[in-house]
């Protein structure tokens, strides 16, 4: 049985098309459609229900050491009020999940994870934490909405002056019309924007509030469909596609977020080995859209497969990400097999879109 976020009724009232995703019934789109929602985010602003995301709370005198042990990034110099991205990895370097780490307070971190992985991550942390550190699962307590797009700040400013200035920073206990929120300047669309957390029983109120104050600026509700096209243009990995239990962060091209020099890193040895596959971006030249699992060919030979693909609303072209054998990383011309049709595809620098 799929779970519902607190906003379920709100979505159905807005006539959203609901689909199961990561164990939740989520809106894939509202009546005006994905394209409209996508453009709204690129040009004005969109609002996403992301209450299904998981929130874990890591506390302990050894909290930091454990973060550095289990997550690809180095959190030693993560200041209070700042956020850092990383990949939770096993000893063999494979990704348990990708996540955001919030430095809430001394010895106290908050970790936001993918909905589908919340239980897995929680269990992984619980089994692998050492010394004085404990993880609490707070996912049911929190609701979250993402306010994304160039007008996001303008809209949020109507409700508060407490706006995190820097990208990847946050402010706690921001009062939005009586709702106490954690406001985080992060997003999954490639645009400026905010992810706003509040108590799960307040998220409906927050959603309606934001839609109301943002209406005059063109703020519209957006579903998972637009979220996918937006993050694809920004070439952001989605767990289950670009990352999974057999992929390492280095294969996924997340070298920037993988620090091998730090002490006690669980996957230090594994990730020091040469990689066998690499993530690349492709633009489909022939007419057609490459989808997940479509084989990627080089010189007629299958050398990998597509992890995500779509028609980019912004670029007007079909784009895709996929994995190929590492030794072909510098090649530029590939072919994609879309249900028997061979489409020409060109290696493209990621991200496909940059604001």
């Amino acid at each position: 049985m799929d779970k519902k976020t607190p906003l379920y009724e709100t979505h159905t009232d807005l006539n959203a098309t609901m689909v199961p995703f990561a164990g939740y019934l989520m809106p894939v789109q509202y009546p005006q459609g994905i394209l409209f929602e996508h453009r709204s985010v690129r040009e004005k602003a969109g609002l996403f229900d992301v209450s299904h995301m998981g929130e874990l709370h890591l506390i302990g005198k050894d909290a930091l050491r454990n973060l550095n042990t289990l997550i690809s990034n180095d959190f030693t110099d993560l200041a209070l009020g700042k956020i850092r991205y990383g990949v939770l990895v096993r000893k063999d370097g494979t990704a348990v999940d990708d996540l955001l780490v919030y430095h809430i307070d001394e010895d106290d971190y908050w970790i936001v994870v993918n909905a589908s992985n919340t239980d897995k991550d929680f269990e992984y942390f619980t089994n692998n934490l050492s010394g004085g550190a404990v993880i609490h699962n707070e996912s049911d307590d929190w609701g979250q909405v993402a306010l994304q797009g160039p007008l996001s700040e303008k809209i949020l400013r109507k409700l508060t002056d407490k706006i995190p200035e820097a990208y990847y920073s946050f402010i706690q206990e921001v009062d939005l019309s009586g709702i106490s929120c954690l406001v985080s300047r992060t997003g999954y669309t490639g645009e400026d924007g905010f992810e706003i957390y509040c108590a799960s029983d307040k998220v409906t109120h927050l959603w309606n509030l934001l839609l109301k104050v943002g209406e005059e600026d063109g703020l519209v509700p957006c579903g998972l469909g637009a979220r996918d096209t937006l993050r694809l243009e920004a070439a952001m990995p989605l767990y289950g596609h670009e990352l999974n239990d057999t992929t390492t962060p280095l294969e996924a091209g997340l070298k920037m977020f993988t620090k091998l020099e730090k002490e006690n890193f669980i996957a230090q040895e594994a990730l020091s080995q040469p990689v066998l596959k690499r993530r690349i971006g492709l633009t489909v030249i022939d007419r057609g859209i490459a989808r997940e699992h479509c084989p990627i060919l080089f010189n007629g030979e299958v050398v990998g497969e597509v992890s995500s693909g779509t028609m980019s609303p912004t670029l007007g072209k079909a784009i895709a990400m996929g994995y190929i054998k590492a030794e072909l990383f510098n090649e530029t011309e590939f072919t994609i097999d879309v249900r028997g049709r061979l489409l020409k595809a060109e290696r493209t620098k990621m991200p496909f879109y940059k604001k």
């Binding site: 206990e173 009062d175 009586g178 106490s180």
Partner: protein, 473 residues
Amino acid sequence: MSKLIFERSVKNRRGITLPEFDCPEVVLDYETTRASSPRLAQVAEVDVVRHYMELSRFAFGVDNGFYPLGSCTMKYNPKLNETTASLEGFNSIHPTQDPSTVKGAMSLLSNLGASLCEITGMDGFTLQPSAGAHGEFTGLLLIHAYHSDRKDLKRTKVIVPDSAHGTNPASANMAGYSIINVPSNPLGGVDVEALKAVLNDEVAALMLTNPNTLGLFDPNIEEIAALVHKAGGLLYYDGANLNAIMGEVRPGDMGFDVVHLNLHKTFSTPHGGGGPGSGPVGVKKHLMPYLPKGTIIDEHFVENTKTIGRVRSYYGNFLVNVRAYTYILSLGSNGLKEASEMAVLNANYMMSQLKDQFTVAYPGPCMHEFVLSLQDLKDKTGISAKDICKGLLDYKVHPPTMYFPLIVHEALMIEPTETESKETMDEFIKILIDLKEKASTDPDYLKNAPYTTPIKRVDDVLAARHPVLKYEM
């Protein structure tokens, strides 16, 4: 009369049983511990219950009968208030809990403050002061902070009318002010000419009760406010009599800068035999920067760099404030106005029935209370206001306030409140008239009243000359 609890004590008798000790003994230095157990009452739970049940029979609350105690607004205390104030979510929270874990309390206090702002026409309230006098002291410190902040340091005086509650001058004294008493005009209002004579740049504030302690609305209030403000002073409103005017007129609109309210009067929280009360203080915008530390507005602790500091620990008498908020929710906009209307109607009715029998300090329509002077009666019969009050006790009604305001001789101040019926008032009127007749026909009877109470009149002088303030264990 009852035995004292100590006289019920039997050696080695026990009340509540506690769990066995489960942790090792701790030996503290001999010097720091008690040589012997305190000699407190050793009684069983049943003893305690019977003792207090007996004491309760010798107490008289508004739940027992009519209580027309002027200036005290002894209205009915709705039982719902007690139910809400006993909710666990209000009782079992520690005052230093993280604000995110006490959102209900923060929200309640913010809403109560906002409601009081609307009822009084002020801009911000602190709920920290725990009684009317505490509110006065707080308000005067706010006034002091305001003048000091403006470097207006000459203002060392506060004007108080001679009809004011005694707490007014006492609170002003505590706040370091010297007091200028101004006489009242025959209506108990401010004598405007006398006020003009004392107003100057040394005056920090004028403290007023309006309606005043004679139960009359001061029609010159606008002129008074203008005069005080023109002289650079501020206006302080003693909210003891707010029950007369809810929904009719607001202190903020009359020109007052600071008000205190008595939630245990106007907002129906019980008096508890003397407390706890709650004396929130409301201010206009220009005084908000000085509000006490621990004030909650819009669900946040206000952070004032110019604060006067805290006037007690934490945030005030929280559970009293819970009761008051319950009352405001129950009555709402219309109910509060109706309460004031009925309070004024009841008082005028009682006055209309008594004015031919007694001397009314000021004839004509009153607000929520009125004052009788029994000087004539005393001159004719030798029976004082006190004798009449003692006579009332035998009829199981609480006497009115006596000997206040000080400007009326042999004063009886009557405030029926809105929660009394015509029948109850008629009965009281009849008793009062009967007692007046008795004063002529049988004065000695009244001089020795009461007769039906557990004790007779008490020797105040003995108590004060040779104070016995505790039981000799």
